[in-house]
């Protein structure tokens, strides 16, 4: 259920929305294109540019994106293929490239030392709309390809982050980590991803979903309701894991895998959490938010409520990041398909009753 918010949110007598009417993006609509703008693209670009300008803070705050990129790349350990040309959509600061270049990515395997995942890839095209963020770690040692000489990282700045300027069927894999939750037209972008993939090639993605930052959302809603008498959105509406499967299927991906995991990070107070979010470039960019910074009263009240409602015993506060991982394959004639209905030979009823 999505609330239709007026461009300027004046305080009104609204019931507090603890479970959040604004929290969930709905993709359960009838067929036929529904063009909606949820995020202000220029605001998001500006936030990313500013985050990239603070190089040290940005690198410190990259822990979440690096962790998710590592988990995305772990899914590559199971695929025994070479990928000549791979697209990293929404590359941020090339976190996926960094995860691919890590030495010994799977220490528990036999043999004990494995090659970096970048050996499976010849060219990684990192596409991102923010030039500064993409080039922030240009000469950083973590992105050095000296130990993987056949791997090439090429950076591509996107003019429009929802229009892919690539020819159809030119990529052997598309990866996307922690950037799809800022896309307005997600079905459109997914269908573009489907078209740039060669047949029988995977799309592996990870995005923030559902109950991410629900603690922050509820605390700020209560604080604003008590201090100002109304609320305005502070946390984006995010896709739910139930909708993602349907979205991928409608776009034409086959052999889907969708799973969800929670990463809970503890912070000393709400302000540290908000500073880290800003340094990550994950500030609020919802259209219809109240412009300008959050007032001191609301911040003060919000921190107190956060601590009372969600605080840990040791005085720290948790922040939940719910990551939705998805894998979908481009259709190909030689892929395994589900059998025709009615072609089953064994009867489950007999099998179960026989026991």
């Amino acid at each position: 259920m999505r609330l239709n918010l007026a461009p300027v949110c004046r305080p009104q007598q609204w019931k507090p929305l603890l479970t959040g009417g604004t929290a969930r993006r709905s993709y359960a609509f009838q067929s036929g294109s529904l063009n909606f703008e949820v995020f202000n693209r220029r605001a998001k670009w500006l936030q990313k540019e500013r985050a990239a300008a603070n190089v040290e803070e940005g690198r410190q705050a990259d822990y979440l994106k690096d962790e998710v990129a590592m988990r995305v790349c772990e899914r590559l350990l199971d695929v025994k293929r070479q990928f000549p040309r791979v697209l990293d959509l929404g590359a941020n600061s090339c976190n996926i490239a960094r995860a691919l270049l890590r030495p010994n990515p799977d220490p528990e395997s036999e043999p004990p030392v494995t090659d970096p995942l970048a050996t499976k890839i010849t060219e990684l095209v990192a596409a991102e709309s923010s030039h500064s963020l993409l080039h922030r770690d240009h000469d950083h040692p973590s992105l050095s390809t000296a130990h993987v000489p056949d791997f090439k990282l090429s950076r591509h700045v996107l003019e429009h982050d929802e229009l892919l300027p690539f020819e159809p069927e030119t990529f052997d894999m598309v990866l996307s980590s922690m950037s799809m939750h800022w896309i307005n037209d997600l079905p459109g972008v997914l269908s573009q991803i489907n078209s740039v993939l060669k047949p029988d090639c995977p799309f592996i993605g990870a995005m923030l979903g559902g109950d991410t930052l629900y603690e922050l959302r509820t605390s700020l809603q209560l604080a604003e309701q008590e201090r100002k008498g109304g609320i305005s959105p502070h946390v984006s509406p995010l896709a739910d894991v139930r909708d993602v499967g349907g979205l991928l299927q409608r776009t034409g991906f086959k052999m889907l895998t969708v799973d969800v995991e929670d990463i809970v990070v503890d912070y000393p107070d709400m302000f540290a959490l908000m500073q880290d979010l800003q340094a990550m470039g994950e500030g609020n960019a919802v259209l219809g938010r109240e412009m300008g910074p959050i007032g001191r009263d609301v911040l003060l009240a919000g921190d107190a409520i956060y601590r009372a409602l969600h605080g840990n015993e040791d005085g720290s506060i948790p922040a939940t990041f719910r990551i939705i991982h998805m894998i979908g394959w481009k259709e190909s004639p030689d892929q395994a398909k589900p059998l025709r209905r009615g072609s089953g030979q064994a009867s489950l009823k007999d099998l179960l009753e026989g026991q």
Binding site: P11, Q13, P16, L18, N54, E56, E57, L222, Q225, E226, R227, K228, G229, P268, D269, F271, A272, M274, Q275, R296, D297, L299, L300, A301, D303, A304, I305, R307, A308, L309
Partner: protein
């Protein structure tokens, strides 16, 4: 642009002042928690004023 290390952001000064008011902050939180399904404007105004006074004092001292 001032160098990043030299300046302390206003939010960091705010955070350190607020950290000195944990008792008042807990009292305000408790008041909200008692009735969080029907929060309206100034439900816990008294506790908030105490919290704000404590913060102003801590900010002045710093």
């Amino acid at each position: 642009m001032q160098p990043q290390k030299a300046t302390v952001r206003p939010i960091q000064r705010f955070a350190s002042a607020v950290s000195k008011c944990s008792a008042e902050s807990a009292a305000y939180g408790k008041c909200i928690l008692a009735d969080y399904n029907s929060v309206h404007k100034d439900l816990c105004a008294k506790e908030f004023m105490r919290l704000k006074d404590c913060y102003s004092l801590a900010a002045k001292k710093a």
